[in-house]
């Protein structure tokens, strides 16, 4: 275990060093500024048209802080967590790593932690940007509380989705990103909105439930009453957090089992 963590730390540092390129930095900056820029553009347009400004700003802010930041968070995780094995196989570096004791798991964990760290930074920066923009037009009631609550929710989202995407990356080598995107759309978007017990297996349900508990909303235009009518009486927050933790551990374990058991061979090896 200590050996894995040491290897994971080495991978984290090495991959971070590799990631510090202008291209990747610009992608991260682009993702981080997209929600606040969009919010700014939309609110300015609303000001120009002069229609229901106060209500609009509030609704647009919620939309940007929840939907756009979540989108950015998921995109960042797709970029960083999913190609954990694929990038090594395509870069022909897999054999250099895999022939070290415990290095398959160490590399897997190191890349997972890096995906979490980068996606969390991008999401929280985007979130802070949105709150700044929203606050500059119409003072939010408690911007620091909103920032803290949403940042915690996005951190949990990064932790659990990075684990799920990393596990997908060990199973599906060539189309990992497509499969992960399909999972987000099919399971975490549509299935999580189904008013049935099945929605509770999705992480989106638990994250939204925590949002509802902490800040009173998580889906725009959904009141707590409407939400409860659809999904039943909410669980306490700690149960949602436990579900997220269990899913993270299960996904990481599945990924570790697959990566140690699977026979990965680069295309030009015979």
């Amino acid at each position: 275990m200590i050996h894995w963590l040491r290897g994971a730390q080495a991978t984290f540092v090495f991959e971070l060093r590799r990631a510090l390129t202008w291209n990747r930095f610009l992608v991260a900056v682009g993702l981080a500024i997209f929600p606040p820029v969009m919010l700014n553009v939309v609110v300015r347009t609303a000001f120009v048209s002069n229609s229901r400004i106060a209500a609009d700003v509030s609704q647009y802010s919620e939309f940007a802080m929840i939907f756009l930041v979540a989108l950015v968070c998921i995109l960042s995780l797709l970029l960083w967590a999913t190609p954990n094995v694929q990038s090594e196989l395509e870069g022909k570096t897999w054999n250099f790593i895999a022939v070290r004791p415990g290095a398959r798991v160490a590399s897997y964990l190191g890349k997972y932690f890096l995906a979490v760290a980068i996606s969390m930074s991008v999401s929280c920066t985007a979130l802070a940007g949105c709150i700044l923009v929203a606050n500059s037009y119409q003072g939010l009631e408690n911007p620091l509380k909103t920032l803290g609550s949403l940042a915690a929710i996005y951190t949990m989202a990064c932790v659990v989705y990075a684990a799920i995407f990393s596990a997908i990356g060990t199973v599906f080598i060539k189309r990992a990103m497509v499969v992960a995107a399909g999972f987000v759309i099919g399971v975490e978007s549509f299935l999580s909105l189904v008013p049935a017990v099945v929605s509770k297996v999705t992480m989106s349900y638990h994250l939204r439930s925590i949002g509802l508990e902490w800040i009173g909303y998580f889906l725009p235009y959904t009141t707590e009453l409407e939400y409860n009518m659809t999904f039943g009486k909410p669980w306490p927050v700690w149960m949602h957090i436990m579900c997220i933790a269990i899913m993270t551990i299960v996904s990481l374990t599945v990924g570790m089992i697959v990566i140690t058991q699977r026979q990965y061979v680069t295309s030009d090896q015979t």
């Binding site: 050996h3 040491r6 290897g7 080495a10 991978t11 540092v13 090495f14 060093r17 590799r18 510090l20 390129t21 870069g91 022909k92 570096t93 054999n95 250099f96 790593i97 895999a98 022939v99 070290r100 004791p101 415990g102 290095a103 398959r104 160490a106 590399s107 140690t260 058991q261 026979q263 990965y264 061979v265 680069t266 030009d268 090896q269 015979t270």
Partner: protein
């Protein structure tokens, strides 16, 4: 050290290696075979990177599959070419050594030692993308030896090396062998492997065709169809003499002083050369076997395997 018992590996319907049995103790081995013959598959099986479809593999007495701790004692230099933009060889080798459980400080120290040994210490802080093919090859060797393994496996280590680099690499490998450590050198070029004076393992079409000492391999080679270039002071007379006395399939004049002979048995030609020199007074300046010798050797071994040719050499 390594034992394979009836090992076969199938990639769906393609055979990677086919019913290989061998037992290798500590020593220096040349794994020789043309491209696509199954050398890399065999190495991956030995290192537990892939699981045999049939048969058993033992590395240091244990099944290497799922026992990655055995890899502490092995260093691998794969044939694959890769590129890490902006990463120096020191950073790369240090990272890979750290994967063995060393601290950052110890890993960096070992990486510097290994890079110094392969003479990359003067450029070890430069990005590897600025390296020549030969320098990258040496960096690959450095990552394989940095953690001081007992067994070093090199897959096509001479790729991209210039003559000086080849000489230095050969010297390094000889030094490695003389330190009493084991070495498996996979290549498709005979003379590269020969320089380290190993025991040979000849693999072709996924099968282990033959194994033996360099002398045994030379004997097989001498009895194989081959192409010889002979430099002499009188090519016409030598050609006439050999046509009469030896089993020659084809003969070409190259320039003023060289003849190229295609023969079914190189030894039949080589045995006549002293006689040509003594009886006919022809001066033999140089005899070179062509690069195709290995292909010929494997072709002969295949025929021996099918029973088309009888041989006294144990195969």
């Amino acid at each position: 050290m390594i034992e394979l018992n009836g090992v076969s590996k199938l990639y769906k319907t393609v055979i990677g290696v086919n019913d290989i049995s061998l037992s290798l103790g500590t020593g220096v081995y040349g794994l020789l075979g043309p491209n696509g013959s199954g050398k890399t598959t065999l190495i991956n099986l030995i290192l537990g990177q892939i699981k045999p479809t049939l048969g058993t593999v033992r590395l240091f007495g244990k099944n290497p599959w799922r026992r990655s701790y055995l890899l502490r004692r092995v260093g691998l230099c794969p044939a694959l070419e890769f590129s890490y933009p902006r990463i120096s060889s020191l950073q790369w080798v240090t990272y890979l050594v750290r994967m063995h459980g060393f601290t950052q400080h110890d890993a960096a120290k070992k990486a510097i030692e290994a890079l110094t040994l392969v003479r990359l210490d003067h450029v070890m802080h430069r990005p590897m993308t600025e390296y020549s093919l030969g320098m990258r090859q040496r960096a690959k060797i450095a990552q394989a030896i940095a953690h001081d393994p007992e067994l070093l496996i090199l897959d096509e280590p001479f790729n991209g090396l210039d003559p000086v680099g080849r000489f230095e690499m050969t010297a390094l490998l000889k030094q490695w062998a003389s330190d009493g450590k084991s070495l498996i050198l996979a290549s498709h070029i005979l003379h590269e492997v020969e320089a380290v004076d190993p025991s040979f393992l000849l693999i072709y079409g996924g099968r282990l065709m033959a194994s033996g000492s360099p002398a045994e391999m030379r004997r097989i080679l001498a009895n194989s169809p081959n192409t010889l270039s002979i430099r002499t002071n009188d090519p016409s007379r030598l050609a006439a003499y050999l046509t009469k006395e030896a089993a020659i399939k084809n003969l070409k004049f190259l320039g003023d002083d060289t003849i190229e002979i295609e023969t079914l048995s190189a030894s039949s030609v080589l045995q006549r050369l002293p006689a040509a020199a003594i009886e006919e007074g022809i001066e033999i300046k140089e005899v070179i076997t062509s690069d195709e010798s290995l292909k010929s050797l494997f072709s002969t071994l295949m025929k021996i395997h099918r029973g088309e040719i009888e041989t006294r050499v144990s195969v």
